[in-house]
């Protein structure tokens, strides 16, 4: 009885209606529901509209189900398109190595876009030299600072911060460490051993922290140099 009911209901479901509803949900960006409807349509019919697998992949990407999107794109008959989509999905998932693996194998008409994605992938990893081989980069001279030099400058309290242009931090570090040092000397001079031990410990800790800060400042300086350059690349890519 149940089988008969299922058979009859399957016959009476208007397939075009399911598809139209799926398209509507897709248009409304309700990707979870759209995916459900597209799957239902796929299940009920053998002749699937050409763009439906792609829409399913888009839904899966929007839902951040990248692994399933990769599986889905493997079923596409057009190998070049399948590779391009896989490359795109890995790109969106932040797996740029895997993305490059697929994008480097695609043929026309996807080659130009694939090159763009490869270049952007390198740029997002801050590998600007490699990125320049695939996309046109805006002219900009990146001035990096050397962490070792930052550490050496920091041997003088605050020097590491000063090397990176952080004058306020440099002055504050110098004041903290020199005050601690003077305090240690004062307690040493007055033979107050416990206080001398505590203040000397604090001086050493802050001095070592200042060297750490010198290296940290350089690394952050270089990071934001890259970050700013990346933003200009992304802006020009958008244009």
């Amino acid at each position: 009885m149940a089988l008969v009911f299922l058979f009859l209901s399957a016959q009476t479901i208007p397939l075009e209606g399911v598809l139209q509803f799926a398209d509507y949900l897709y248009g409304q960006q309700d990707y979870a529901a759209a995916l459900h409807e597209y799957r239902r349509y796929q299940f009920l019919t053998d002749s699937v509209r050409e763009d439906i697998p792609e829409r399913i992949i888009t839904c899966l990407i929007e839902l951040k189900k990248f692994d399933k999107a990769i599986q889905e794109s493997s079923q596409l008959l057009d190998i070049s398109k399948s590779s391009f989509l896989k490359g795109q999905i890995y790109f969106l998932a932040g797996k740029y190595d895997s993305s490059r693996l697929f994008l480097s194998t695609v043929g026309t008409p996807y080659k130009t876009d694939a090159k763009k994605f490869i270049g952007l992938g390198y740029a997002l990893e801050f590998k600007f030299q490699e990125a320049g081989k695939y996309i046109e980069l805006p002219d900009a001279e990146l001035h990096y600072k050397k962490p070792l030099l930052g550490a050496l400058c920091a041997l003088f309290p605050g020097g590491g911060h000063l090397y990176c242009g952080r004058t306020g931090d440099a002055i504050f570090s110098f004041l903290v460490i020199s005050t601690m040092g003077l305090l240690s000397y004062y307690y040493y001079d007055h033979e107050e051993d416990v206080k001398f031990g505590i203040s000397l410990g604090a001086t050493i800790l802050f001095y070592a922290g200042n060297i750490y800060g010198g290296i940290n400042a350089v690394r952050n300086y270089n990071y934001y140099q890259n970050e700013r350059h990346l933003q200009t690349i992304l802006k020009s890519a958008e244009e």
Binding site: G168, V176, G209, Y223
Partner: protein, 116 residues
């Protein structure tokens, strides 16, 4: 004394057993409970310097954690806000966002993995 030590160990997150870590994080907790609570919310950063220190010590041990905390304390000054966008990513609830991950010198800072 032993009982006190057991209580302090059990009170630590992840049941920390390194005595130096226990002493440091207990001191920081006491500072937060007694001094910081009466001072109010005065730190320039988010997470606050004491929370930063606690997390750094529990995640990277007393040596690296103390160095990171000392560096942070010296960066927490009236000029910190000048470096927004050049050294710090932004502001949240009036505080400079400066998570531990942005201050690790022994690990490469994450790039834009997984961003659209």
């Amino acid at each position: 004394m032993n009982l006190l030590f057991i209580i302090v160990v059990l009170a630590q997150p992840n049941h920390e057993t390194n005595p130096v870590t226990i002493v440091l994080s207990t001191s920081l907790s006491l500072y937060q409970e007694i001094i910081s609570s009466s001072q109010g919310d005065v730190c320039n950063f988010s997470p606050s310097c004491s929370n930063f220190a606690k997390e750094a010590i529990s995640r990277y041990g007393p040596l690296w954690g103390s160095l990171m905390a000392a560096d942070r304390l010296m960066r927490c000054n009236p000029w910190s806000y000048q470096h927004l966008g050049t050294y710090y990513p932004g502001i949240r609830d009036g505080k400079i966002v400066d998570p531990i991950e942005n201050n690790l010198i022994f690990r490469n800072r994450k790039t834009h993995k997984g961003q659209k």
